[in-house]
Structures are given as C-alpha cells and as structure tokens.
C-alpha cells in the first residue's frame, strides 16, 4: 500500500487570473454530527473564473461541505469568507443574497410554474406594487438568450426534461448575479449531448468570472471541465490540485486512499456458458406495456448476468419494472423455469424468487428512519410473515455477515440509514434482497451516483453471485460497466429492443452504434 501524498502544498490560483484573491475561502470547517465527525478541519478556496471540482468518495463530506457553504448546515468550527469578508449564512436565502447559488442534482425548482417564474421567483420586477409579468418574461428571455438557451419562457417547467430544468436552474443563478455557482452532481441523469450543453453554459459563465464549484462522480467530465480540484476523504482534506497536474490514477488513489483494484483491472469473470437446451430461469416473450416499452423477448439463464443497455428513456427501467410486476404488462408471457407465471404485482414476483433493486433509491427502497439492521432484515421479515419474528441473535448475525461482506460503512448495525452515504445505502438495500436468497436479481442502476470504490465492490459482488448460480439482470447507463460484468447485453432504443448480443464478442463502439442508430442485428 503506497500512501497517497498527504496534504499537498496548495496549488496556486488558476493561471488565467494569477493575481486574483479567492472569492470564497473556507478555512478549518468542522461539522460534528451525532456520533460522527462529518467534516474535520476542511479548507476550500474558490477563485473567480475557475471551475473547481470537489472530489471524494461517497461519505467523504462533499455534500456536507457544500451545505456548510450555502447555509443549510451550521458548522461547529472554522470560517467562511466571501470576497475577503467573513460570513455566516444561516439559510440558503442568505447565501443566495450574498451571491452563492446552488444547482442540485434533483432540480430544486417548482415544476408547476413557468420557466419565467422559476427564474425570477422571489425577485420579480414590480410596477406599482404588483408583479409585472411582461417585464418578468423579458428578463427571463434575456437571461436565456445570454446563455444561448432555446427554451420558451412561458412553458411550464415540469414539461421539460431534467436536463433542461437544470439549465433553467442555472439561468436562475445567472439572474441573481451569482458570483459563485455550486453544481452538485448536475450530470448524473443527463445524456452525453445534454452534458455538452451544460458544459457550454458552464464555460461561458467561467469566462464571465463566475467561480464554479463542480461535484461529479464522472472522472471524464471532471477532467474535461475543471481547472483545479479539492479532494476530500472521510471528512478530511486530502489535497488541492491543478487538474492538469494530477493524473487520474493519482486522483483515484487520493480519493480512495488505498491501492484499489481499479475498475480497469477488475477481471471479467470467466464467461458462463449456457448449456444447449437448458431452460432459462426466466424467459419473457413479447413482454410489453403500452406507452412504456414495446413487446420484447428476454431470457435469463441460471448463473448469467444479462445487461440492459440504452439511453435514459429507452425503456430499460420500464422493462425491468415489468419483470418485477411493479408495472403490469399489457402484452406477452413470462415463464419461470419453464412454467408460465403471471407477474401481477411485486408480491407475485417475490414469490417466484425475484428481487428488485430500484433506481430510485430514495423513493422506493431506503427507510431512512430505521436502522441499518432493520433495513437489512425488512424484506426477509416480510417474507416470513410478521407473526414469526426473526430471532434477535440470528438477525444480528445475518446483518453482521452482510455488513462485512458488502463492506458497509460505518459498520454499525444501529446507525440510521439516512445518515449513510448513497453508496452505503445501496449496499444495505442489496443486502436486504440478498438475504431473501432470490434466484433472479433485478438491479436497476445499482451503481449510479455512488463512488468508485463502492462501485467496484458492487460489480465484484454481482460477478460472485452469478458464479454461485444466481441470475442477474443489470441495468446501467454506463456501457463499460455493462460490458464488463454482463454475459449478454440487450440493447434498447426508443422503447424497442434492438439487439441481444453476446457480451464477449461485442465492442463498446458496437453498442454505442446500436444505441445511436438503432440498427437491428438479428
């Protein structure tokens, strides 16, 4: 284990503006949560006209640091200065008034109002005491034009895709004359074209001298857009670097702090052949749902990992939900081990030994106010029936075993789940389903929004489960990931299955082509 370099000599301001003072300087920020030090003596400097990436694994303290900056959390020690003046924001409104705007991963605007209103809300131009709607719209139009965004200011925000909503959120920040723009994982649900559009806007803001703090899990994007970066690990500052001076491997090492079996090194498990004539564990023929996914054939054999690849909205999630009975199919048949079954509800799917990890962690899986232990045992208990409680000791043992096996951190069965980072919550949910010993595991974006270390662990786990005979359906927006861990790949485009490929003789470019053009190859 070669130790990552300890706190570096701080890299200077960006070359473009050598003499400038930092617009934001956070020094010695410490935040104590019950039982855990979320931030310990962390510093961050933001210069005008730079894109600064805030890097770290889940649970490293990135979100907490941002919340300290924007007045959501109070900090126990340290100082925040804005343009040299010490500040102590007590609310997001406070920070906004001082020129710090934040765009969150889940767009924090009001979907029921128009684009115009979302841009000017709270600062509407007024004439004789009442809101001047025409002037509001003109102002929105001006801001959108400044950012070269072609969005109808009169349209209702909720009628646009997330990507557009995020751009509107940025337009709102521009309208407030923000000097500092915080982008908290803005790209995690965008496709490549949308990311390019977002970066175009970010660059034009940088040219205008706005300081941009950028949080993302995508290394590619970080290297593409950022000038400097600050790396956190376990609530501590690891270092401040110029992006150009920090090779990726160094960055990953700094974030993880140990020799990682880097994702590139993660060996593909030996291909798991299907015996001729073997009955698939699950086979769906002509399975579809009107308006969601066109009739498709999917077969999953024992011990195989089948990937579903496609863009957002291609029907990959919808197809998975049909396989779990979470949505009802309007066409097609499903057979489990050759026997026809009807998946009318998640209950009937669970009865068939099917488990489903939703992409919507927050909405459909995590019970934040229960402990890790209770969350893990939830599905098993539900399966046993509530009249037959799991013996305390047996339960403790099972939970401890999975916490160890999946490396859940903190390894405390009594911790409330909502206090865990996204990646660790995901592991807990996975443990919950594994405990029920499913024969078919449906994983919808199990690695989205979680850090590299946890990602590798989850991928390893999937491979191990398959080698032990479990069947897995693996949905992911990341093609490399799908190709690495799946035995076969079902490609979807515009709600149609366009191909069913053997992963071993498929290249990344081939799949990209299929997704982009949708040529069927069968």
């Amino acid at each position: 284990m070669s130790p990552a370099p300890a706190t570096e000599v701080p890299a200077g301001p960006p070359a473009a503006s050598p003499a400038s003072e930092p617009v934001v300087a956070m020094t010695g920020i410490t935040i104590q949560f019950p039982g855990v030090k979320a931030l310990d003596d962390v510093s961050l400097r933001l210069f005008p006209g730079e894109v600064h990436a805030l890097m770290g694994e889940n649970g490293a303290g990135k979100s907490t640091l941002i919340k300290a900056l924007t007045g959501v959390y109070p900090y126990d020690a340290g100082t925040v200065t804005l343009a040299g003046v010490e500040q102590r924001f007590t609310s997001p409104a406070d920070a906004q008034a001082a020129g710090i705007s934040t765009v969150y991963q889940e767009v924090n605007l009001c979907p029921n109002l128009t684009v115009t209103e979302n841009i000017v809300l709270g600062r509407e131009p007024r004439r004789r005491g009442s809101i001047d709607k025409r002037a509001s719209r003109e102002r929105a139009r001006r801001v959108l034009a400044e950012l070269h965004l072609d969005i109808d200011p009169r349209s209702v925000l909720g009628s646009h895709p997330i990507a557009v909503q995020q751009l509107v959120a940025i337009a709102r920040a521009v309208d407030t004359d923000a000097r500092v723009l915080v982008l908290d994982e803005p790209t995690s649900s965008l496709d490549a074209g949308e990311v390019a559009e977002l970066f175009r806007v970010v660059r034009s803001l940088r040219e205008r001298g706005v300081a941009i703090l950028f949080v993302s899990h995508f290394l590619e994007q970080v290297y593409e857009i950022s000038d400097r970066m600050t790396v956190l690990r376990n609530g501590r500052l690891v270092g401040e670097h110029r992006t150009a001076d920090l090779p990726r491997t160094e960055l990953v090492r700094a974030m993880i702090g140990r020799e990682l079996a880097t994702l590139e090194d993660l060996e593909r498990a030996a291909p798991r052949p299907v015996e001729d004539g073997a009955v698939p564990r699950l086979s769906a023929s002509g399975l579809g749902r009107r308006g969601a996914v066109e009739p498709a054939d999917v077969a999953v054999h024992a011990g195989r990992v089948v990937g579903l690849a496609g863009l957002l909205g291609s029907g990959r999630t919808e197809l998975t939900r049909l396989l779990f009975g979470a949505d009802r199919a309007t066409a097609g048949r499903v057979e489990v081990d050759g026997r026809p079954v009807r998946l009318r509800s998640p209950r009937s799917a669970i009865a068939q030994g099917i488990a489903f990890l939703s992409e919507d962690r927050k909405g459909e899986g995590v019970v934040g106010d229960l402990t890790v232990r209770d969350n893990v045992l939830l599905a098993l208990q539900a399966r046993r029936g509530w009249l037959r409680p799991i013996p305390r000791k047996a339960g403790d043992e099972m939970v401890a075993r999975y916490i160890r096996a999946l490396d859940v951190r903190p390894a405390d069965p009594g911790a409330l789940l909502r206090n865990l980072s996204g990646g660790n919550q995901q592991k807990v949910l996975l443990a919950r389903w594994l405990l029920t010993e499913p024969r078919l595991l449906l994983l919808d974006e199990p690695t989205r929004g979680i850090d590299i270390g946890a990602k590798a662990q989850i991928q390893e786990l999937v491979a191990r489960l398959a080698s032990e005979g479990m069947s897995v359906v693996f949905v992911s927006a990341e093609l490399e990931e799908v190709l690495r861990i799946c035995d076969s790949v079902v490609v979807l485009r515009d709600r149609h299955v366009v191909a069913d490929l053997d992963a071993s003789d498929t290249s990344l470019d081939g799949v990209v082509d299929l997704i982009a053009r949708g040529d069927t190859r069968d």
């Binding site: 009001c110 005491g129 709607k133 009628s159």
Partner: protein
Amino acid sequence: MTVSDTRPPEAPDRPATPAAASRPGWQGAVRRWLRSTSTGSSTVSVLMTGVLLVVLFGAGSVRYENFGYPQVALNLLVDNAYLIVLAVGMTFVILTGGIDLSSGAVVALGTVMAASLLQAGWPAPLVIAAVLATGSLLGWLMGLAIHGLQLQPFIVTLAGMFLARGICFAISGPSIPIQDDLFTAVAINVVELPGGTFLSYGAVLALVVVALAAYVLHRTRFGRTVYAIGGSESSAALMGLAVGRTKVGVYVISGFCSALGGLLFSVYILSGWSLHGIGLELDAIAAVVIGGTLLVGGRGLVVGSLLGVLVLGTIKALIDFDGGLNSWWTKITIGVLLLVFVVLQRLTSRRAGTAS
C-alpha cells in the same frame, strides 16, 4: 389577463413556440391564449367547470320553466355568497398543499359571536372587527402550529374545528336572533341591476373577495410563493422564498375568510347558532376541487372555486325546482361529480406527466 402574446423584437428568427405559433386558425389562437395565461392546464380545468355550469344551467332552463330567468342565476351568487368567500380562503390553503377543516366551525363561531355581541349592545362595526380578528387569530395560531411545529394541517385544523365549535357552545347553546339595524339593513337592501334584477350586498362583497384573491395570487410575491410551495415546498425554501411566512399567511387568510363567511351567513340567516354551518368546510373543499384545483397543491385558480360553488348551487337549485326529489339527491350528485372531477384531474395530470 393582460399578458398577451408578445414576442420580443430582438428574437424574430426564433419563434418561442413553433408548434403553437404555426398552428392556423382558432386552435392555434386557443393554444396561444392558454399559454399566455401561464396557468395552462389550470385554465383548462376551469373551462371544464365553466362548461359544466353552463350545461347544468341550460338543462335546468329547458327542463323547468322559470329556471332560465337571469335572477335565478344571480340568486346562485346571493344564496352562496358565504360559501364563495369560504372557498376563496380554502383555495389559498389547498394551493399550498394544505387543508383547513376549521372553516365551517369558524363560520358558526362568527354567527354566534356576532349575535351575542350585538345582543350585548356592542356597536355593529366593532362586532364585525372582533369577528374578523378572531377568525384571523385562530388561523394564525393554526398556521404557526402547522409550520412551526411541522404538524399535519389535517390534524391541526381538525383541532381548530373542535375548538371553534366548542367556543360556540360555551358562548350560547340556543340560537340567538339578530335584530341590529346595520345587519338587517344589509340583509334587506339589494343592489339594483338593469333588467329588474338585483344582487345582495353579500354577493357583491363575495365577488370583490374573489377579485382581490385573484390579484393577490397572481400579482404579488406572496401569491406566487403560495403556488411555489404547492409545487415543491423544499424547492421554494432553497430558492430563498419566504416559505414560513407564506404558509402561516394562507391560514390567516382562510381564517379571515371563514370569519367573513360567518358574518355573511349571519346576515343571510339573521341569527347566531352554534350548529350553523356544519359540514360547510367540506362543501368549500368540494367547490375548490370541482373548480379544478389540485388537492396536492400548486395548481388551480380562484375563479375555478367561484365556478365550483356555482355548480354546487345550481345542483341544489335544480333539485329544489324539481320539488319531487329528496334533498339528499344534492349530496349524491355532488359526491358523484366530485369523484368524476378527481378522476378527470388524475387523467389529465397523468397525461401531462408522460408528455415530458
């Protein structure tokens, strides 16, 4: 709406709404108008309620002679003035995603307070001020509990309902007649309209309240914040809007409107009784929902609530005119109608959801 379709001269090469702008004829015009109201789907819901009202009234005119007179229509306003005011207050609350179950009881409290204070010899203006202040105060307290303590509006206003109803009984069990000059004058005199028709002062006041509410909701920051909270309360807070003040504010408004409704009711019925207005809050909620306001908040127009009240009034009038039908048919019809509207809302909002 003064927001007409104006495109800025500097962007002529980029039509803001290509689909709508290029559509020929009246459909395009309708679409443009709907967009320019910036309330899109709410406008559609309100139009639906308006059409329903016209159909119901038209059916009545055909079925029963004497139904088609203008005064019958105006009587809908006269007879339901208190409910209109109540529904306006309720609209504010529901737009934020809340509910106010206390308003019927506050109406009763208003009538009992007015009657007993007048009986005790208080001057009428002072009585009116006291009633309005009491309603607002009660609303303020409920708002504080809801926002400050993060309690469910349902429970808090349920408690408010019991409290207000209880205070009524504490003041006076039996009904107290109102003989005050001002109150009776308002009750008897009317505003003459052309064609020999008339409106009561209460009805005029109710219409003024509707207009005022529409202005507040659409032209003030407070009003836009009401919609923002209904859309997403956490977003509204992160956008730096005055969420707390606004949430408390809508309950003050609802309390005030309930008290005002109570005054109108006591003028209408010239008595104060602790059993007045039982279930009135549910009528108000029904009117708001039939008027196209979503119960989850964020979408709806106060004009819709006015139309909703008129729909309820028309149904009642139809059943009264028939004479042969039991008055419980009113409830049955309203129940069915409510269900139909909620289902329609569900379908339209689902379509809007999948369109994105």
